[in-house]
Amino acid sequence: MKKYMSIMIAILLLLLAACSNNTAGDQGKTGDAKHPSGTITVWGWDVAASTMKAAVEKFQKQYPDVKVKVEDFNSGDLYEKLTVGLAARGSGLPDVVLMEDERIPGYVHQFPTGFLPLNKLGYDKYKDSFNPAKVATVQNKDGDFIAAPWDIGPAGVFYRVDYFKKANVDPNSIKTWDDYIAAGKKIKEATGAKLLPIDIPNYDGVFQMMMQQQGLSYFDKDGKLALQSKEAIRAMEVIKKLHDADLVLNNKGWDGIVTATVNGSVATVPYGVWYAGSIMDQAPDLKGKWDVFFLPSFEEGGSRFANVGGSSLLIPSTSKNQSAAYAFVEFFTTDKDSQLLGFEKYGLFPSLKETYSAPQFTANSEYFNNSPIFKKFADIVDQVPQINVNENLAKASSIMSNAQAAILLENKSVESALRDAQKQLENELKK
């Protein structure tokens, strides 16, 4: 028996050896800060990863000794890998990683030493090159850059030009949320389409936009909960009015929004500017039928600007080739051409201010009713209010979504739902 066992073990080992292909390459080689060299790995997702891949060519003209390997995952998968890697004390992580801005505070909170502060490497000299609201989101409390800012998503309301015409509604006349609701009623009568999609129990994005245009997240500037503020109450009340007038299409998730956009069951979609790319992608037949206006405000003359989404680049502190990683991050986020490349091809709206004067930005978009939609957004990015982003946003968002569901689907009153939400969140934060 013993003999056979050892034969089996030998076979197993052989099998092992047969399928092992060694991947260790020239990763051990690194240069110094002035002349970085070696290979770095970058993690990103779909169009962002494609943009970085495309930018490598120009990067290598400046840094011929650095090889860049961009690896592409879906964002959920990337976070999963990143969390496991950070929990495993930084093993198996890449040299540069892409992250959505709303995730940054959470990761930094959970893994305080997980990422390199970029100030030490000299990134703070670019402080004024970017949109200020964006800079605020990628800095920690001491004003250190934790991430290098890339794209942003100034919010607007995408609308169906043909529906508005049919209902005889002038989009320029929509100034406040009350105008918006009134227009929605008219459009529904004329076309049968609802006004906007909201995944009621799972997505509070519209509420978030409304809060940000009033200068708040779920928290105020001092980090205190703002769910019972007058701003929160009137935002929720608008959403309730929309729902009471049967103008909200309760569609599930991202697929639900895309579905509604393609099949014409909604007349508007309030979202970040990057949604323009998805509309063009998924609904090529609707060319010329979409356009955009800014978010309505709460009172005439009030702020109409907010931001949805955006992402930035971070360097895990376990990176074995920090000089090359920094060289890439610095080059990529501050190079006008690379930023414009991602914008033109994939609709990633840069936060680098010098790009906004480029012709790609100022041109009229054929798809969007021949209007210069990107210029519209570029003109207002500086007016997007800065808000308090912290590590509790995800928790707050899920609690708010529940409150939204209670208000819209179970007829709970706005005040009591928000009061309960605030209490619940206070409890969770104490833990």
Partner: protein, 276 residues
């Protein structure tokens, strides 16, 4: 009277059955149709029920974004090697636990059963650190080896091996067969249904497994099908036609594998139902 009653009850049964068929086949059919449509048309209202003409194009773009042949090979290689080795190991272990007497047998078996109760999330991070220190990230063995000893499969094999009469084994020993020969030529053929059940189970779980391969694999050339399909879901842009086609393709091997072993599998399910 009786016949009309019979007919009406038949109508009732059949309409129930048809509803069941539609419910279970419907999503599958929609996936098939979806794989032949361009992304934008999948969400049309009313939904399109007839296949479109986009199949070749979807395949082309799927192949461009994934390199479908290599991905398929990765998945197939991993799943087959894993299924074969793991089935063999669990059959051997099960045989030993069922038919041999050695010190600590019950204790070992108890420990193996206990590992069934450890959630996989707990072992995820230590296992990952292990793979990193072996320098095994992005390799086949990182996926195949850690789960090679499956407690569930060992348990299942042991229960089946127990049903094999001791007298067969004793008779073969008297006839002078060696232990390995007994195992391979006498025992394994007898427990064929159990082998089939275990290998279908292992094949499916490996073929569909996402989290572990996702965490250990980094480059596109090494991805298995679920990881690759998951990478198709972008942040803001999803080509649903590609996703549908990829999902359709990924179900084919499972169906083939199941059909191939179905006869043994079903006799395995029924195997315990009748006692002599």
């Amino acid at each position: 009277m009786i016949t009309s009653k019979k007919i009406s009850s038949k109508i009732g049964i059949y309409s129930l059955l048809i509803a069941g068929v539609i419910l279970s086949i419907g999503p599958f059919y929609w996936m098939l149709v979806g794989s032949t449509l361009p992304s934008g048309e999948i969400f049309h209202i009313p939904p399109k029920l007839l296949p479109g003409d986009h199949l070749a194009k979807n395949f082309q773009s799927l192949n461009e974004s994934l390199g479908i042949a290599k991905i398929f090979w990765n998945s197939l290689f991993i799943a087959l090697v894993y299924t074969f080795t793991c089935t063999l190991i669990s059959a051997m272990a099960g045989y030993a636990f069922a038919k041999f007497h050695f010190k600590g047998k019950n204790l070992f078996f108890f420990i193996i059963l206990c590992t069934l109760m450890i959630p996989s999330q707990v072992t995820l991070i230590p296992l990952f650190e292990m793979m990193v220190s072996f320098n095994w990230l992005n390799t086949y063995q990182a996926i195949i080896l850690p789960s090679l000893a499956s407690p569930f499969a060992i348990y299942l094999m042991r229960q089946n091996m127990k049903a094999v009469p001791d007298s067969i084994i004793e008779a073969s020993r008297v006839d002078g067969a060696g232990e390995l020969r007994i195992f391979f030529t006498i025992i394994l053929p007898v427990v064929r249904p159990a082998l089939a059940a275990v290998s279908i189970f292992l094949f499916m779980s490996q073929w569909n497994s996402l989290i572990w391969p996702l965490i250990t694999l980094n480059s596109k050339e090494m991805f298995t099908l679920p990881v690759a399909l998951s990478s198709l879901i972008g942040m803001a842009r999803i080509d649903y036609g590609q996703v549908m086609l990829g999902t359709t393709l990924s179900t084919i091997p499972i169906m083939l594998f199941f059909l191939l072993l179905q006869k043994h599998f079903i006799s395995g399910i029924l195997g315990g139902s009748v006692k002599e």
